[in-house]
Assembly symmetry: C2
Homo-oligomer: 211 residues x 2
């Protein structure tokens, strides 16, 4: 099995068909894929916000350069990341992991101490950037899963994250928004991009080999 055909099929859908809903089972699988993505030290600083409310989608579109996919999509996923790696959060992940693995509560103490020592020297902004990077792994995994399921998905950085965080009260969750991923189905006859060739860096430029 390979994802190459699916990745060639996918593209940054510009026009979605507002009448077509993505089956909940498929949305669940896309979210499950994002959830299974790895993260630095297994800390999983990533959350997904799912917006289906039409009024809220309209408000987000207004701070998202008026991009139609935000309202025309079936489910709007928002990838968010921890605003900081607090000691409490790091300890919680380790405790939960030990619990589920039926290990003693103090197992992996060295690794925990390493993780705890990693962040205090970073500014809050640097900590968020670190967490945000992890959310891009989940984004990559999720958009691959969407393509494998035949669901269109358009990754977007083009919105005002500070305004979105305020709109959704993400500060209360200790989160900041990073990217949008509207899920839906392409409306081919109204999408200027669908027929255009996918262009990628030629392999000879993309890869540098040290043999």
């Amino acid at each position: 099995m390979s994802s190459i055909a699916a990745l060639n099929w996918r593209y940054a859908t510009k026009k979605m068909d507002v009448t077509k809903k993505v089956q909940q089972e498929k949305v669940d699988q896309i979210i499950a894929a994002a959830q299974l993505a790895p993260s630095s030290m297994g800390l999983q600083p990533v959350k997904i916000i799912v917006v289906t409310n039409p009024e809220l989608k309209e408000k987000i579109r207004a701070i998202g350069y008026n991009q139609s996919q935000i309202t025309d999509c079936s489910h709007l996923l928002i990838f968010a990341a921890w605003n900081v790696y607090s000691e409490e959060r790091v300890r919680h992940v380790f405790a939960q992991t030990n619990l589920e693995r039926e290990l003693p509560a103090d197992a992996n103490q060295d690794y925990l101490n390493m993780a705890l020592g990693h962040f205090p020297s970073m500014t809050e902004e640097e900590q968020f950037t670190h967490a945000a990077k992890q959310s891009y792994i989940s984004l990559g995994v999720a958009l691959t899963e969407a393509a494998l399921l035949g669901v269109d998905a358009t990754p977007m950085e083009g919105f005002d994250p500070a305004q979105l965080d305020e709109m959704l009260n993400l500060k209360e969750y200790g989160l900041r928004s990073v990217t949008l991923l509207p899920l839906g189905y392409r409306k081919e006859d109204e999408d200027w991009l669908v027929k255009l060739k996918k262009v990628r860096t030629p392999l000879a430029d993309f890869v540098i080999e040290f043999q």
Copy 2:
């Protein structure tokens, strides 16, 4: 088709079997998947460096916390990103895209101007961070593809990127290293992690819904 089973099978392999090589065809598919990953404004600021040279792998291990996967793996992938979004680079991507799509050389001028206007207000470090984030999308896509092909892959941030950049002369390419992804096959009897349960944030904590 779905990647969920493959994502459950994969894990951050701690011990790879140095005697097992990954078929070139599979390496090529993993690289092709990374190449097909989307990027902000389609600018593709990501490159992959493939290291198979044993002496070089040893040197990288020495600046990678002595992690054994760096030398035991079959192919060491290094995900690198542009150090800056120069005007020349941005113009080149747009020109190449128009050429391959058989569009006039001045097509998409508004979008080009938007892209050109996006980066000059950012510091070089911010530009690199923006590019590095895109490389995490490719990383997510590549590790999903590896899992689908039954190839083990361990994403790693734990190395000294400045030293690696120097070692590989990445500055000459206008690149900086971001993550490592050793490819190979697990050596189950020597891997402490392989039998442990994969632990993820429970779905109820991972997802926030606005219906």
